[in-house]
Amino acid sequence: MTSTLVFLLGLTVIFILLVGFGIFWAIKNGQFEDMEGPAQRILMDEDDPMLPSNQLSDKTK
């Protein structure tokens, strides 16, 4: 019983560290600076084939 608990708690420590590092990385990277833009950006089609004179678009793809 206790040994299972110790194992699970150990697992928790690993997960907490992972989550902690993940969040710190995200904060440092400025992921929380623009909370509205990315949600809207996903709706714009970047690779619309109808764009005629978009010469550089192939490079950015």
């Binding site: 206790t2 902690g20 904060i27 833009g37 109808m50």
Partner: protein, 803 residues
């Protein structure tokens, strides 16, 4: 063509007789003006037509790019000017932050990013939708900054370089730190709560003592970073409060945290009945969360204000030994000669030595009416030279300018403002003292009754009375109300404003730019000869083509650019008007005294339009027409006045304008309490007189001249379209520029105060009822912790009702 058609680009009605079209996605679309046509064509030509299918809001009003503006943009390529805002990141690699004006929806972000990325030499572009700023990196060998700015203008937006001030990077750093603290508190408290579920269940069901010990030690491990790293701001605030000699709300918070933690560690090490790791985590998480929301709202307002501050090139043209040279404004000295070019703002206070021109001193007087300047007249820094070059002798730079003096006046008025916040803090400090004394007394009494129970009971008392609910009562309501208001475009920049709003009895409005739109339009044209009105329009607009005068815009908007006729011998007569030859005939456009023909005209027109500016169009012999220009009221002005009056609020108007105009506006709005020809200090005095009579005054304004009054009023609103100084000295910024929002804000203020009162009542009632039970030992610490959590929950949920 039907006249009700609207422009496909900007949505405005297409004027009669305008036939401009652009092919967008295989369909021909109508455009209202050349500006829109150029922008739409640029968008389509660059393969960005998808913008139109994705946008969710129409763009801001487009404006045509004048060659003068392009010249000004070229200034940004000057290395001396670039030094202040361009980051040099290696060989020819440059980086800068630009403020984008005119971003209305996500499609605008997409449009700007896509368009700039297509340009050769651009390395990265990132537009932040939240604060309307773009970070651009480019190669200075392949593209110049002015070209980038020009390309953005081509799309119908306006970009200004933003010098990343130190304050801004500090704010960024602090926000990141706050987020980290919140994240740690969130992870720690969630896990600690999970463990405590096990402990509570164990108490009920029976649990192995060694398991209890394991769970407690693990809880200690989880709470350690929360209580040290996350809770640091509370200790700091408490310590600085103690050092300055008064107990603030943070003192009991810090004390409860430390006691609960030390008590829990004691129980973990030496054994006992209960640990409080879950309560500690939740407490810290709640408090940090509300504070972050508050700081976020404040930061957003500061950013908005900074975006409004359009960065002018801080360069001046100095004349030395007949040579012109560009120097930074800071290098100017009193006695230097500088050249002020038309269309640019004046760099320093000075006296005119050569040239005659008109300048726009709206920043000082609030009135966009130009003032004539001749040799010997003084000119203030920041006013805009409208017509012709002026040579000035500098009399004041930087801190010594009139403008800097007004800013100082704002600071002074702000510091004299009655502070309700300090009152609440003082009450909290008494509460804290009483609480600490009471806890000590209970502890000592129990020492005599039952030594073994002392720690449990002292902890129960501290936790039960822990001012969690009490300290959340006000900030939770403020945060909820603030976020509700910001969705309506009302930005609360100072926390106390909402409390004060509920007590407002008197609203004072500025006139120009606040009640009115601040831009004169032609309301009437009276033909005085057989020449039809249409013809007069064309003549007037043609004559005004070359003019930078603010009134000129009103004329230019009335006819399409294709109809304009060529003007020969065009001349500006500063302070009077313009003249020129069209088809061999000389025409004059200006005030009544400008041309001989209108001088003899009767005063009857002036009488029938008391508040208007009259502009006369004459040829050599007779007056052809008179144009009536008026600064129109904002569309919702009347409705806003009606609503405010319905709430029983008194209204006054303070204006720098003349008596007739102010009376006219007052009559249109049904306001009797009028003050005219008010300088900034007069406005402040009038406001203080009202306050002496016991009125709680809300001031609504927009100009620099309003700034001292805005700072002096108990609560103040600024129009977002106004000047940045006004925005910074006000408590609430109306981002929507709707006057009606004033009464909306007053209403929310009342609701907020009601919720705050309920919250405070609940928090105090809970404490008063729970305290005796805890002191008598009827409340076990775990029950106390539960009670505390539920009471704070009630407070937060009640605050959320504000939506």
């Amino acid at each position: 063509m039907a006249s009700s058609e609207s422009c496909y680009h900007c949505g405005q009605v297409v004027p009669d007789g305008i036939e401009l079209r652009v092919n967008i996605a295989q369909q021909s679309r109508t455009m209202c003006c050349r500006g829109c046509q150029a922008v739409a064509q640029a968008i389509v030509d660059n393969g960005l037509g998808e913008y139109y299918s994705n946008r969710t809001a129409l763009p801001g009003q487009g404006h045509e790019v004048f060659p003068d503006e392009l010249k000004k943009l070229a200034l940004y390529d000057h290395p001396d000017i670039q030094r202040s805002f361009v980051i040099d990141s290696g060989e020819d690699q440059r980086e800068a932050v630009l403020i984008l004006e005119g971003i209305t929806c996500a499609a605008c972000v997409w449009l700007n990013e896509r368009h700039l990325k297509q340009l050769p030499g651009i390395r990265t572009v990132q537009v932040n939708y939240a604060n309307h700023r773009a970070r651009v990196a480019w190669n200075s060998n392949e593209i110049s900054l002015s070209r980038i700015l020009q390309e953005i203008q081509l799309l119908g937006y306006n970009a200004h370089p933003y010098s990343a001030l130190q304050a801004d990077s500090l704010r960024q750093k602090k926000r990141k730190k706050d987020l980290q603290r919140l994240a740690i508190a969130g992870i720690g408290s969630a896990q600690a709560m999970m463990l405590s579920v096990g402990l509570y269940a164990g108490k009920w069901d029976g649990i192995d003592p060694s398991t209890v010990l394991l769970l407690r030690w693990f809880g200690l491990l989880l709470t350690l970073p929360v209580v040290t790293f996350s809770a640091m701001p509370f200790y700091r605030a408490a310590w600085s409060g103690l050092k300055s000699g008064h107990l603030n709300m943070d003192v009991p918070v810090a004390l409860a945290l430390i006691t609960a933690f030390i008590g829990s560690v004691w129980v973990t090490v030496f054994g006992g009945t209960h640990v409080y790791y879950d309560s500690i985590g939740m407490f810290v998480l709640f408090l940090l969360g509300t504070r972050l929301l508050e700081a976020g709202a404040r930061g957003k307002s500061v950013e908005a204000a900074e975006n409004l501050l359009k960065l002018q090139p801080t360069m001046a043209v100095r004349l030395r030994a007949g040579q012109q040279e560009y120097v930074p404004v800071l290098d100017l000295l009193s006695g230097d000669s500088i050249l002020s070019k038309p269309g640019e703002s004046v760099a320093a206070d000075g006296i005119v030595v050569e040239g005659v021109s008109t300048v726009d001193e709206a920043l000082l007087t609030g009135e966009p009416r130009p003032v004539v300047k001749q040799p010997g007249d003084s000119v203030i820094a920041g006013s805009i030279n409208l017509e012709s070059p002026l040579t000035l002798t500098v009399t004041g730079v930087g801190e010594n300018t009139v403008l800097a003096g007004i800013v100082r006046m704002v600071d002074k008025a702000q510091s004299e403002k009655p502070r309700i916040a300090t009152l609440a803090d003082r009450a909290a400090s008494w509460f804290t003292i009483a609480l600490l004394i009471f806890t000590a007394v209970v502890g000592v009494v129990w020492l005599y009754i039952d030594r073994s129970q002392v720690l449990d009971i002292v902890l129960a008392v501290l936790v039960v009375t822990c001012p969690c609910a009490l300290s959340l009562a006000v900030p939770a309501a403020l945060a909820a109300a603030g976020s509700h208001l910001i969705k309506r475009g009302i930005l609360v920049t100072r926390g106390h404003a909402l409390e004060t709003l509920a007590r407002v009895s008197h609203v004072v409005f500025d006139k120009t730019g606040t009640l009115t739109q601040g831009k004169p339009v032609i309301v009437d044209v009276i033909a005085l000869s057989d020449l039809p009105v249409m013809q007069c329009d064309v003549l007037a607009a043609s004559l005004e083509q070359a003019s930078e005068h603010p009134l000129a815009l009103a004329f230019k908007g009335r006819v399409s650019a294709t109809d304009l006729q060529t003007v020969q011998n065009a001349r500006n007569h500063p302070g009077q008007g313009v003249s020129g030859e069209v088809n061999g005939q000389t025409y004059y456009l200006g005030n009544q005294n400008f041309s001989p023909a209108s001088r003899t005209m009767a005063e009857e027109h002036a009488l029938s339009h008391p508040s208007a500016t009259l502009v006369w169009l004459c040829d050599a012999k007779r007056a052809l027409a008179v144009f009536v220009l008026e600064d129109p009221l904002r569309e919702d002005a009347v409705q806003a006045m009606v609503r405010l009056k319905a709430r029983g609020i008194e209204i006054s108007i303070l204006s720098g304008d003349n008596e007739t105009t102010v009376r006219h506006v007052g009559k249109a709005l049904g306001v009797d309490n009028l003050h005219w020809q008010q300088k900034p200090q007069d406005k402040l005095a009038a406001l203080q007189a009202l306050q002496r009579d016991g009125a709680v005054v809300a001031m609504v304004g927009d100009g620099i001249n309003d700034a001292p009054v805005l700072a002096g009023a108990q609560v103040s609103f600024a129009m977002a379209a106004g000047t940045d100084v006004a925005n910074q000295s006000s408590d609430i910024v109306l981002l929507s520029n709707r006057l009606d929002d004033v009464s909306q804000a007053l209403e929310t203020g009342r609701d907020t105060l009601a919720v705050m009162r309920q919250n405070l009542f609940w928090a105090v009632a809970y404490n008063v009822i729970a305290l005796p039970f805890a002191a008598l030992g009827y409340v076990s610490p775990w029950l106390a912790a539960l009670g505390m959590s539920i009471s704070s929950m009630v407070v937060v949920l009640n605050a959320l009702r504000l939506k």
